[in-house]
Amino acid sequence: MNMKVWAQSAVGLLTIIVAIVCLNVIATKFYGRWDVTEDKVYSLSEGTEKILSDLDKDLTVKLYFSRSLKELPLVIKQYATRVEEVLKEYAAVSDGKIQVEVIDPKPDTDEELWASRYGLQGAMLPSGEQMYFGLVFIHGGVEHALPYLDPRREEFLEYDLSEAIVGMFREEKGKVGILSSLPVMASGGPMGGGESWVFVTDLQRSFDVTAVSPDAKEIDPTLKVLILIHPKQLNDQTLYAIDQYLLGGGRLVVAVDPMSRTDLAMSGQGMMGQMPQVSSELAKLFEAWGVAYNPSQMVGDALLGTRINAGGYPTDYPYFMTLGEEQFVSESVITNSLRQMLYAEGGSLQQKEGSPFSFEPLVETSASAGVAQAMMAPYMSPQDLIRQLKVDDQKHTLAALVRGKFPSAFPAGPPAEAEVTRQHLPEATGEASVLIIADTDFLADNNAADKFRFGSQIMIRARNDNLNFMANAVDFLGGSQELISIRSSGKVARPFHKVAEIQKAAQEKWKAEEEKLTAELQGLQQKLSELQQERTDGNRFVLSAEQQQEIDRFREQEAEVKKRRRIVRKNLREDIERLGNRLLVANLFVVPLLVSGFGLGVFYRRSRRLKKEKTHA
């Protein structure tokens, strides 16, 4: 009897367990995933979805990952799983066009041979084993490998994958022209001209870059983007050619500059009596686009000044602005992901009053900026130039995107003596777009990147987002907008605003005090070093009693000031600590007290009721 019941329940139990296991096995094939994060971190971005839906060719992607190695760091294993998941997403969205294969290239197997044949790099683990973690896209005879997937590049994973796909099927690179008065492109001249600037090499990865002569009579309409760098006194014919190129559907990136150091360096510091003309403008065309720009003024911002070595004294130079995230307009895909730029003695742009066209600022100064005469820059010391800054307490626009159906800058038709082959366009055929930035020095190699030798190679490492700004601008105008939108999606840190607010408020309160004390301290320290100087200059080892006394006195003062400053800094933190404590107490006690109160209430009522029942009994 017992056995039968036992058997029955055992069978019942077993059935249920088997059913559950089967369900789970089935689920590994049929499953759904919902990305509930606000930033949609786990979903593919729209740009990738567009690229994949536009994909009309079959593509195989082979992911090589040495999963079976013993000493694999957990970070890499987790990242490999993530990469696999992302690739499966790609396959799913591509509607079958993309096939994913995951391969574990064990040592001394064919798979390992293939991995290295595809160009994947193995990484040596501390255990001595070779780990492969890379992938290759294959279509027909075309291969594109990502030789090593670095977990530190996780936020760019989607960009790298989508760029690889786009790059594979790009029939021909889009054409981009550069018209520049500065030697940005390598010239194969008789003197063996210089190398291309780094931003040009950067552009050459995705585009076919050609040089356009500064006195060109016509602009090739097949150019996706024309980049004007430091346009100086272009003749009317060239201006007309640019104007017509734009109106006919071309796109422009214009970099003008009230003070180009690069130009200055090239034209020499002026022959006697002649001031070198190192500013550029595009007045005639700017007029037609509703853009106001003063080529004789450069913008400075004390809040954004960069530390330079001006004659031995480190000074915060307001005309070399280190722009941070707050200075980038976040809504634009071009500037969305930028974190830092160096803007060197550039100007500002404004929309002309009454202009009917769209003027979208991309990069701005803080609200404490001002202007100075650019002409003086080559001749004055940095300290003097700082004094020249006239603060106007306004945000200046440093780069902007201007759009609209612009009229021709030559309403009366082509200028005389112009050799024109096409019909004059009095107005843009569609919405024209121009990106203007009022600085050219930001593109200079020494402002944008660090170059260093690595054996026989020259390695370039971007120092800031200057190159990215240019790349984004050209990508955006050149049509690869999908890639830019992917470039912008990354991890978002979520710091405590409240704490930042309190910090700022506290800083305002105590800043003045702290600055005063710090200045005092610096003064004292300078005095001290002067005294020390005297000592080593004059009597080598022997100090007069007075000198020693003075030194002691100053040291005391120094200690005093340091103490006062420590107190001020402590006050800065106090407000934040108080907030932390208050929150801790609230969380720790409020609800538990309420619950206890509720519980006591329930028991009180019950005991009252019981008492009542007792007395009535």
Partner: protein, 244 residues
Amino acid sequence: MQMFFPLFKREFLGYFRSPVAYVFIVIFLMAAVGCTFFIGGLFESNQASLISFFTYLPWLYLVFVPAVGMRLWAEERRSGTIELLFTLPVTMAEAVLAKFAAGWLFLLCALGLTFPLVLTINYLGSPDNGVVFASYLGSALMAGAYLSVACFTSALSKNQVISFILGVVICFVLVLLGWGVFTDLMADVFPVGVIDFISSLGFMTHFQAISRGLIDSRDLLYFLSMIGVGLALNVAVLNAKKAS
């Protein structure tokens, strides 16, 4: 299934008639907040997320959930009221489900009372509330999984202490299975495939997966499966004990 609701209601309200429940909730909340602020350093982290709370929750559950579950069956069996229960027209499955559901709802109430933490991080900054929601969902499911184990161990013994200890041990094993540190240790002994399979049985793996904000039906199914297995075992044990 008619007996389910009355039974469920009786069980659930029964919690609130005992002072133990209130003590339990208060201690649980204080421990959770304490871990979050003191060990997890929520305020110092300057990150508007509840990761410091959810990191410790599985370990808190390890102790608290068996404490809730231990009395569910052990008490009834010891005091004999279980006989009374089965004179009612209720199937074993219904009874098991009703008790489990009551316990689960109680745990969800306790979890819900941690809402001041959510308010706090929303006040301090702007957290990803999608991730917070997903983490709470994962916690709720995980609580259910823990509870089903506790119910099962509760049915195994008349002694509450024994069921508590058994419950903690089994839950501990299940948590350990998915815990990175442990799997790394096992790596030397077992081949990788085995290890991956074993860690997929653990609570942590699936809880962490859901808490990231990517809700995968397989993780949901995992927790529901664990609950199912626990309850099935619960029914089997009770049936076996009943027969003897």
